[in-house]
């Protein structure tokens, strides 16, 4: 144990290993805690305003449960985990495969959200200003979708540098953090889905 000994250290203590958690791990965990609080506030606002809209359209009339998109998003959690496993074993081909699968599933989810919003806006005439349902729906689902977008951006960056030949296996730690963020975004969708499409309807 190299260092200035401010006091004499007995030999047996010198041999003790001094190991603390990795700073990136701690940083990402508390970043996710902070994000959870933001989501909690928007979820609470949604719950408080359920059934408080003074005018239509109401959730039960216009909302269709996005089952396919939800399955896509949740299975992308699995594919990103498989990609991470493949990278750990340095099987780059397999990694790229699962990584592209994750991106496709994420894009499918974003497309579905976009089409859902298009229908709500152009056919059901529900905007963020229409009523409280519109206000809370677009802000909560939009907050989640914007997080998916940020995750997608980082997934694409990793794919891009990998395809350009960057040795991504040297960045296993960072890939792991990105996959945690992706799992977090998927876990948030469990809550958002329950609140918006189950409780709210």
């Amino acid at each position: 144990m190299a260092g200035i000994e401010l006091v004499p250290i007995p030999a047996e203590e010198m041999e003790q290993e001094w190991k603390l958690p990795d700073r990136g791990t701690v940083g990402v965990i508390f970043f996710i805690v902070m994000e959870s609080v933001i989501f909690l506030v928007f979820v609470m606002a949604y719950l408080i305003y359920i059934g408080k809209s003074l005018t239509g359209p109401y959730p039960k009339d216009v909302l269709h449960t996005p089952i396919a998109a939800t399955i896509c998003l949740w299975s992308s959690s699995l594919t990103v985990a498989l990609a991470e496993k493949a990278l750990e074993k340095e099987r780059l081909g397999l990694f790229k495969l699962w990584w592209i699968a994750t991106i496709c599933l994420g894009l499918e989810f974003l497309t579905a959200t976009g089409l859902e919003w298009k229908e709500l806006i152009y056919e059901d005439h529900l905007t963020i200003a229409t009523n409280l349902f519109g206000t809370t729906f677009y802000s909560l689902v939009g907050l989640h979708a914007s997080h998916v977008c940020v995750g997608m951006l980082f997934l694409l960056i990793v794919l891009g540098v990998t395809l350009l030949g960057f040795p991504i296996q040297t960045q296993l730690r960072r890939v792991k953090f990105l996959s945690w963020y992706w799992h977090f975004v998927d876990a948030v969708w469990v809550v958002v889905f329950t609140v918006v499409y189950v409780v709210g309807k």
Binding site: M1, A2, G3, I4, E5, L6, V7, P8, I9, P10, A11, E13, M14, W18, L20, P21, D22, R23, V26, G27, F30, F31, V33, M34, E35, V37, I38, V41, F42, A45, I48, Y49, K52, S53, L54, T127, I128, A129, N131, L132, G134, T135, T136, Y138, S139
Partner: protein, 560 residues
């Protein structure tokens, strides 16, 4: 058995050749060093402290006589809004960040924070937020109108902030400025937590961590969980104002009370966030100047963690007047009483640390003593206001103004001055002038108490907050006059402080590494510390590594 003792630490190599101005500027702008960023935070905070203090002085002079006409009513609204917002977000928060930044790595024997570049990002985005807020003076009404600053009060209650009632862009600058600077605070909070958990030097277990670091760690936790609700509320406000959302629009079924809840879920922990640096400072200064270890350190750590959780559940005691259910009133009143217990533990333990000690009344210690008395008074009026029926009588009166200025000026600002005088020698290598410091201290104590003690009485006499003037004949004239005189004395106290900073940084006596004969690791480095802090990482065996070093025949670790 390794027995080498390297103390004082080897000095850094001879200082490099003179820098030109542009090189020096570049060194400050491009820095990722936690010490430089800490100094930048504190310097920025001092500048905003002066601006905001002058705003307060202007308000006091407006109120000196009944029907006075120093400023227009709408100017007065902007003054109290900008004063409150600046003091909380651009004086308090940077002082939290600055003290954490400068001291935590030194105290836990680390070379820098966990994420140095994130740290620099945090400072610059904070400064950008502050500039956005102050830009409102120019751009508040948009390109056509005359500029104006926000005038909605520092807690900006809905529906006053709705587009219909707050025209122009001033409220947008308020929301954006705080939202943006909040990103900086959150970055700093994550950084502090990661630093405290991951970068402690060998042997620095959690129980050996200095109390200062404990308190700032819990402070970072509070920022991390309390600031996001405010950010979320401001996003909602901006959605309301710009996309026509209805969160706070009562005409569409929205709730103005939701804003109050979200604001105070942030706002109450925020006052703990602000007072924690003072708690942290007292926990270091009082033991060193009483020549005794901190009394009941485990209880102190337990108390701070307890405050860190209980304070998250008391917010609605700011909202007794909105008509909550009796159960909600009871719950929040009881929770507010509860948070008084750990705070009481801290007050008692500091006093017990002084008891029987060999006390040196240097300037940092004087500020700590004044803190104890003034913060005690603030705590007592706080408990009074936590009782719902009492609050109904005095809600939004000058009693409330007096209460929170006793916590934030009598507590936080006095604690900050103690920290400033205590660590100035470490930061600059020069001692602060004791005589000027004592002038600063006594003028501050007299001025502060003259300003805010009478405001308790004004509250009892029924004077509401935020009025720009008042009619004669209500018994308010005398106390307002005294209060303004006190504020002017504080102005001179701050002048002494500024003169002291300038004089001491130019011609202060050399401080040496350890001028106060203290016990924590920052005093084992040269003053000012080199960029890498420690040439070799220290190894510690107790909570007071420098005591062990200075007293090898009777080290602390024998008793732990």
């Amino acid at each position: 058995m390794a027995t080498t003792i390297d103390y004082p630490l080897p000095k850094p190599a001879a200082s490099p050749a003179e820098f030109s101005f542009s090189q020096a500027l570049w060194k400050w702008v491009a820095t990722v060093d936690h010490k430089r960023l800490g100094i930048l935070y504190i310097a920025t905070a001092l500048i905003f402290f002066l601006i905001s203090g002058l705003m307060a002085l202007t308000m006091r002079w407006q109120l000196i006589f009944p029907l006075n006409h120093l400023v227009e009513p709408d100017t007065y609204d902007r003054l109290f809004t900008m004063h409150g917002t600046t003091m909380v977000f651009f004086v308090g928060m940077p002082i939290v960040a600055g003290l954490s930044n400068y001291l935590i790595p030194l105290m836990i024997g680390a070379r820098d924070m966990a994420f140095p570049r994130l740290n620099a990002f945090g400072y610059w985005i904070f400064l950008f937020g502050a500039c956005l807020l102050y830009f409102s003076y120019i751009g508040g009404s948009g390109l056509q109108g005359v500029g104006s600053a926000p005038d909605v009060g520092w807690f900006a209650y809905a529906p006053l902030t709705a587009r219909a009632f707050s025209r122009g862009a001033s409220t947008d600058y308020w929301a954006l400025g705080i939202l943006v600077s909040g990103i900086g605070s959150l970055a700093t909070a994550i950084n502090v937590i990661a630093t405290c958990i991951c970068l402690r030097c060998p042997g620095m277990t959690l129980s050996r961590m200095p109390m200062f670091v404990w308190v700032m760690l819990v402070d970072a936790w509070l920022i991390l969980v309390a600031l996001p609700p405010l950010s979320a509320a401001q996003i909602m406000l901006l959605l309301d104002r710009h996309l026509g959302a209805n969160f706070f629009n009562t005409q569409m079924g929205g709730s103005a009370v939701l804003w109050q809840h979200l604001f105070w879920i942030f706002g109450h922990p925020e006052v703990y966030i602000l007072i924690f640096p003072a708690f942290a400072t007292l926990s270091e200064v009082i033991p060193v100047f009483s020549r005794k270890p901190l009394f009941g350190k485990p209880a102190m750590a337990g108390a701070i963690v307890a405050i860190g959780f209980i304070s998250l559940g008391v917010w609605a005691h700011h909202m007794f007047a909105i008509g909550m259910t009796a159960w909600a009133n009871t719950f929040f009143a009881a929770a507010s009483m509860l948070v008084g217990i750990p705070t009481g533990i801290k007050i008692f333990n500091w006093t017990a640390t002084m008891y029987g000690g060999k006390i040196r009344f240097s300037v940092p210690m004087l500020f700590c003593c004044a803190f104890l008395l003034q913060f005690l008074l603030a705590g007592l009026t706080g408990i009074m206001l936590g009782v719902a029926p009492f609050d109904w009588q005095l809600h939004d009166s000058y009693f409330v103004v007096a209460h929170f200025h006793y916590t934030l000026v009598g507590g936080f600002v006095f604690g900050f001055f103690a920290a400033f005088y205590y660590w100035f020698p470490k930061v600059t290598g020069k001692m602060m002038d004791e005589t000027l410091g004592k002038w600063h201290f006594w003028l501050m104590v007299i001025g502060f108490n003259l300003t805010f003690l009478p405001q308790h009485f004004l509250g009892f006499l029924g004077m509401p907050r935020r009025i720009y003037t008042y009619w004669p004949g209500r018994g308010w004239e005398f106390w307002n006059l005294i209060s303004t005189v006190g504020a002017s004395i504080q102005f001179f106290a701050i002048l002494f402080f500024l003169v002291n900073i300038i004089k001491s940084s130019i011609s202060g006596e050399p401080a040496g590494d350890d001028p106060w004969d203290a016990w924590t690791l920052e005093w084992a480095t040269p003053s000012p510390p080199p960029e890498y802090n420690f040439e070799k990482l220290p190894v510690v065996r107790s909570g007071r590594p420098l005591w062990d070093l200075k007293h090898p025949q009777d080290p602390d670790w024998k008793y732990q």
